[in-house]
Symmetry: C2
Subunit: 202 residues, 2 copies
């Protein structure tokens, strides 16, 4: 076992120990750390569906969007115009898209989003927080995975649910999570020349 | 190759030919046949998210729910109380759940749902129809897969999107579909004794 593998295993062991300690305190209901990952569809739209579900239940909730453009207009407009009371909506990713070539700006935007995310998660009024596409910010190390996982495991209020979406979820996050779903692409119409469409893709 | 395999292959060939014919007529935008399947989370909530997205865009839409209880209260209440104008909501599955032991009643409920679904799909005002958990009704042959696939391929208006959700999507449906996502369960908290919770599971 080389040094890197040993460090990785030790890290995973620590995360598992922290998670087990957390799980040992669980009551019948608890706030979950939920991850939607994979290359398939439905990671963000399912998170958005859960947000609407919370609104239906009267559960105060929040969204921090880490990548500009994932939600182009449909859901953003609906939340901003009709549910501004029920759901706090923050876009941190205005400054970072696939086209940006300015890493410092990207890191600053991601960090600002994470700072807001922590406030929202700690807010005792809010019980459900969606961190949309945060996995992208984590993947490029715009955010420190250890800090994020440590915050979720040790600071997140017991009854608050946090959903983290995006491809390529880091193994540390999967280890820390309670509920992980991988969306797998089976078939996609883009290969047949069909463009992205309102209501389906955005 | 035995008889069953030969019949299956011939059937798939026919579906593919019908689908290719349909695809040959496609313009840049087209209504898609979309399937969410697999044992993981997010099949229904992502469909529901797409419905809310349509509402945000002002696209008239409809939901036919084939299994009672998949959407317990959150989203159903929201659609019925706040978006009754924008989204037609039909529950056909009142009569069939895992607990029902009356197959005739189940078949009748599924057939009634499918009859309404066809009307909604054909309605020129409606551009997006979610058939929630229809795969369960298809799996148990409460509905005839050939009739459903044939209707989608030959009768669905060109620009209307239809989303079909539920585990164990039949191969005929996957063959006919434009966009198929499999939700795979990576990790689930139920095994740790955590109960289903508002906002997350329903």
């Amino acid at each position: 076992m080389d040094d890197l593998t040993a460090r990785h295993n030790e890290k995973m062991r620590k995360i598992k120990a922290a998670r087990d300690k957390l799980m040992a305190t669980k009551t019948e209901q608890k706030g979950l750390i939920i991850v939607h990952t994979g290359a398939g569809k439905g990671k963000s739209s399912s998170g958005f569906g859960m947000i609407m579900r919370c609104i239906g239940h009267g559960i105060p909730c929040a969204v921090v969007q880490f990548i500009k453009g994932t939600w182009i207009t449909g859901e953003k407009e609906l939340l901003r115009t009709r549910f501004a009371e029920e759901c706090t909506f923050v876009v941190s990713g205005e400054g970072f898209t696939w086209e940006t070539q300015d890493r410092d700006r990207d890191v600053a935007a991601a960090q600002a989003g994470w700072a807001r995310a922590k406030e929202l998660i700690l807010d005792p009024e809010i019980r459900f927080v969606l961190l949309d596409e945060i996995n992208i910010a984590l993947r490029y190390d715009y955010l420190d995975i250890d800090e994020v996982v440590d915050f979720l495991l040790t600071r997140k209020p017991q009854m608050t649910h946090v959903v983290l979406t995006g491809r390529n979820a880091k193994p540390e996050l999967i280890e820390a999570a309670d509920l992980v779903t991988e969306m797998t692409l089976v078939k996609h119409p883009f290969k047949d020349g069909v463009v992205a469409q309102k209501g389906v893709e955005f």
